[in-house]
C-alpha cells in the first residue's frame, strides 16, 4: 500500500488541504483566496502537482464549495497548474475535477473560464 500523503495551508481566512487515498487525490479549499494568500496557494499547488506526478495519479478532485471568493491573482495560480498539466506528455497528464456550489455565483463563471482553457483535462461538477 502506498504511504499516506497530506498537505495543508491554514491561514486566518483561507485554508487548503490535500490528501491521497488509494489512487485518488482530494483537495478542499475554503475561505477567501486573495492577494494575501497567493504565495501559499502557489506553493500548495506546486506541491500537490509534484505528488500527483510522483504517484502517477490520474485524477484530482478539487472541492471549492466552501471557497467564498477567489481573486484574479489566485485564478492565475490555477492557470499555472492547468497549463503545467497540459504541457506534460499525454501519458503523464491527469484530470482535474472541480466540485462547485450552485449558490456561490462567482464559481460558475470563473471555473467555466478555467475549463475552457483545457476542456480535455478539466471538468466542473455542481
Amino acid at each position: 500500500m502506498a504511504e499516506p500523503w497530506h498537505e495543508a495551508v491554514q491561514e486566518s481566512d483561507f485554508s487548503a488541504e490535500a490528501s491521497v487515498q488509494e489512487r485518488h487525490m482530494d483537495v478542499a479549499l475554503s475561505g477567501t483566496a486573495d492577494f494575501m494568500v497567493k504565495g501559499h496557494l502557489d506553493r500548495f499547488l506546486r506541491s500537490l502537482h509534484a505528488e500527483v506526478q510522483r504517484r502517477a495519479l490520474t485524477e484530482v478532485s478539487v472541492d471549492v464549495r466552501r471557497l467564498e471568493f477567489m481573486n484574479s491573482s489566485c485564478l492565475a495560480s490555477f492557470v499555472w497548474w492547468i497549463s503545467t498539466v497540459q504541457e506534460q506528455p499525454a501519458e503523464d497528464r491527469y484530470r482535474i475535477v472541480f466540485l462547485s456550489s450552485p449558490t456561490v455565483y462567482w464559481q460558475r463563471r470563473s471555473l467555466g473560464a478555467l475549463a475552457t482553457l483545457a476542456d480535455d483535462i478539466i471538468s466542473v461538477q455542481l
Binding site: 471568493f69 481573486n71 484574479s72
Partner: protein, 167 residues
Amino acid sequence: MVPGTASSASLKLEFRLRPHAGIVSVVRRFVEERCAKLGGDPGSVSRVTMATHELLENAAKYSVGEYVHLKVEFNASCDSIRTQLTNETTPVHRARLRERIRLLQNAQESFDLYQTLMRRSFEAGEESGLGLARICSEGELALAMGESENTVTIVAHSHPPRNSQDG
C-alpha cells in the same frame, strides 16, 4: 466609510480607505451583504462584488497615496452596476492601465481576450492585468478611465439596457 444612501431597490456606498491588502475582503463582504439585502439577481450581486474586490485590490497593490476613494452603486431592480475607484499612482502604472483598458475597450469578444490573458498570466506575474479583464468578461461590465495629475479613476459599469441603446 462615508455613509451610503439607499432607496428600496438601490444603494450608493462611498468609502475613503487606506489602501492595504487586508481591507479588501472586508469591504467586499460589506458590499455583498448590503447589495444582497436589496434582493434582485444574486448573479448581479456577485458581479458588483467581484468588480469591487478586483479594483480595490489593484489600488492596494499600486496606490502611492494615503487614501483611495471607492464608490459603489447598485440598482437591484434593473441590475445596474457602477463601481468607481480613485487613487494616486505612478505615471508608469497609469500608462499600463491606459494601455490595458484601451485593449479591453477595443476587444470584439471580451471572453476571448480574457482567455488569452489568462494563458499569459502566470508568465506576466503580478502585473498580469487579469483583474480588469475578469471584470469585463465574467462581470460583463464596461471599463472607463479618467486621469487628473497623479490620480487615476477606474469605473466599471454595466452596459445600458438594450432598449436604451436602441434609442
